[in-house]
């Protein structure tokens, strides 16, 4: 078992554990914090995969910006663990079972996929995740979606203003 594998397993455990903690935490603030944990673990995975750009962006955008926004909102609303009454246990159970089934079904699907058997992921090496390469592709082949996503931002901006504005 080399370092990469150890790191992989460690990050995986952290990610899964944090993810589970996101759902079981009663306090929303804790959930947010655990979710940031997940993001960090995932960023670790990115680094493992030599996708440095995404690793950084993930940290900045997700953990930094988005989660802080969440945190703001939660603070703003002053939500604490009392504010969420317990759901019926059977609803939780049904949700867990449904999610579990989903996982089970997809996993068994992957297990049957013959064509994946000898495929492996290039870990540690490979330079496509570097900013230079990504940037080149983004501003040549993917310039149209890049521009179009500005429309998305525009609409999100207008929307946030429309919704958030007091009238």
């Amino acid at each position: 078992m080399d370092t990469i594998q150890i790191l992989f397993y460690a990050l995986t455990v952290v990610a899964l554990f944090s993810a589970i903690m996101v759902l079981v935490s009663k306090n929303p603030v804790h959930s947010v914090l655990w979710l940031i944990g997940v993001f960090f673990a995932i960023s670790g995975h990115y680094i493992l995969l030599n996708a440095q750009f995404l690793a950084i962006v993930n940290l900045i955008v997700y953990a930094g910006a988005i989660m802080v926004l969440f945190l703001f909102v939660i603070m703003l609303m002053n939500l604490n663990n009392q504010s969420e009454p317990q759901k019926h246990i059977w609803i939780k159970l049904a949700g867990a079972i449904a999610g579990g089934c989903f996982l089970m079904v997809l996993v068994s699907l992957v297990r049957q996929a013959v064509d994946l058997e000898h495929k492996s992921v290039l870990v540690g090496t490979g330079d496509i995740g570097l900013i230079r390469n990504l940037g080149k592709a983004l501003f040549s082949d993917f310039v149209v979606p890049f521009e179009i996503s500005s429309v998305l931002f525009l609409s999100a901006m207008v929307g946030a203003v429309v919704i958030g504005k007091k009238d």
Partner: protein, 111 residues
């Protein structure tokens, strides 16, 4: 690293996200679980991109295959950011009116 490991991990994260959506009542946490699902997808896409990249450079070392996967992740992040801004605005608006973010109270509309 076999691709299956990544797939299992991502599916697990994705499913945890789904379970969260199904079991939690707080709209913000539900939304966070959705973000978790997106992150799972992101990781999976990166893993696949590296998988395809690995296969491609075996044939052609200069191949840039796999870039599109990572760029897709980039776009997902973009969209996620936009969505979060709108989503949180909606949640805040609702909170202003009802002083609650419990999705179980959202039942004026039914049948």
């Amino acid at each position: 690293m076999p691709i299956q490991y990544y797939i299992y991990l991502c599916l697990a994260l994705f499913s945890i996200g789904i379970i969260g959506v199904l079991t939690r009542r707080n709209a913000i946490i539900v939304f966070m679980c959705i973000e978790l699902m997106l992150n799972a997808v992101n990781l999976l896409l990166v893993a696949f991109s590296k998988m395809h990249h690995g296969a491609a450079i075996a044939v052609n070392p200069a191949s840039q295959t796999g870039v599109e996967g990572q760029l897709f992740v980039f776009f997902i992040m973009v969209v996620a950011a936009a969505e979060v801004s709108v989503g949180l605005a909606i949640i805040v608006m609702l909170f202003r009116n009802t002083h609650s973010v419990d999705i179980n109270f959202l039942n004026r509309l039914k049948n």
